[in-house]
């Protein structure tokens, strides 16, 4: 992680535009932004809201390590990774990953890498509140619903990294 990178767990609204400005660089021809947004359903059940919990100091360390790894793999200018905790309503941004680089292939690849790894490693949990009560979403096998992985985005972790991106109501399709 360079001095100019930002990695933070926050408990307030994420200002994605500010993050976008933060990664600007005269050398950067590309900025890739991922926003994880709370959606209104998960596994066929309506979701009213989510609550996120995090072991913030460890999450920030883990994410900084992921940023380091991304910097080793790709030539990047700046990164900003912010995850919000607390209560989030449908439509709110739970996590943002913003990456600038000279060219777009790198920006896309690094941005995806960071969010994928964050979802695997960062000690951040979400609790879903919906019509059938509330429960903590836990991994690809959600104990309450007994559902399998990958229902939402249809890819079930086929990147081989074990991550399940269909487990919670926080990503736009």
């Amino acid at each position: 992680m360079s001095d100019e990178d930002l990695v933070r767990i926050v408990d307030e609204t994420i200002d994605v535009a500010a993050l976008r400005r933060r990664v600007e660089d005269p050398r950067a021809g590309a900025v890739a932004t991922f926003e994880g947004v709370v959606r209104d359903h998960n596994r066929g059940v309506a979701v009213d809201r989510l609550e996120y919990d995090a072991y913030a100091p460890m999450a920030e360390k883990e994410i900084a390590g992921i940023v380091d790894a991304a910097r080793e793999r790709w030539q990047l200018h700046r990164l900003a990774v912010v995850h919000r905790v607390g209560r989030l309503e449908v439509g709110e941004v739970a996590v943002a990953v913003v990456v600038s680089s000279s060219h777009r292939a790198t920006a896309f690849d690094a941005c995806r890498y960071v969010i994928d790894r964050l979802k695997e490693r960062a000690p951040i949990w979400k609790k879903e509140f919906g019509a059938d009560g509330s429960h903590w979403l836990e991994g690809p096998e959600d104990v309450v619903t007994g559902g399998g992985a990958g229902g939402e985005e249809g890819d079930g972790g086929d990147r081989g990294d074990g991550g399940n991106r269909g487990s919670g109501g926080d990503e736009a399709a």
Partner: protein, 97 residues
Amino acid sequence: MTGDGEDGRAGEGVVVEVVLFARIRELVGRESLSLRLPSGTDVDGCFRRLAERHSRLAPLRSRVAAAVNEEYASWDRVLRHGDVVTFIPPVSGGGPG
């Protein structure tokens, strides 16, 4: 509130702080607690001690990862006095594996 001091003479062993999150926090009912453990206790032993007091944790053993001092740790890591331990329920990707 401090933890148990009941498993040996006062001052023996190591005292660790266990911080809890998500479902484990709800099952235990606390954000953190102190445990006095025999010297040489490893992370697995710490979990077992916690599960002795909160039996609903026991089935989670295969589904949690462990961290010591804000870094992922192996279950056979021997704990030292003042270590901060946490047990990490599965994150959306199932943890580091």
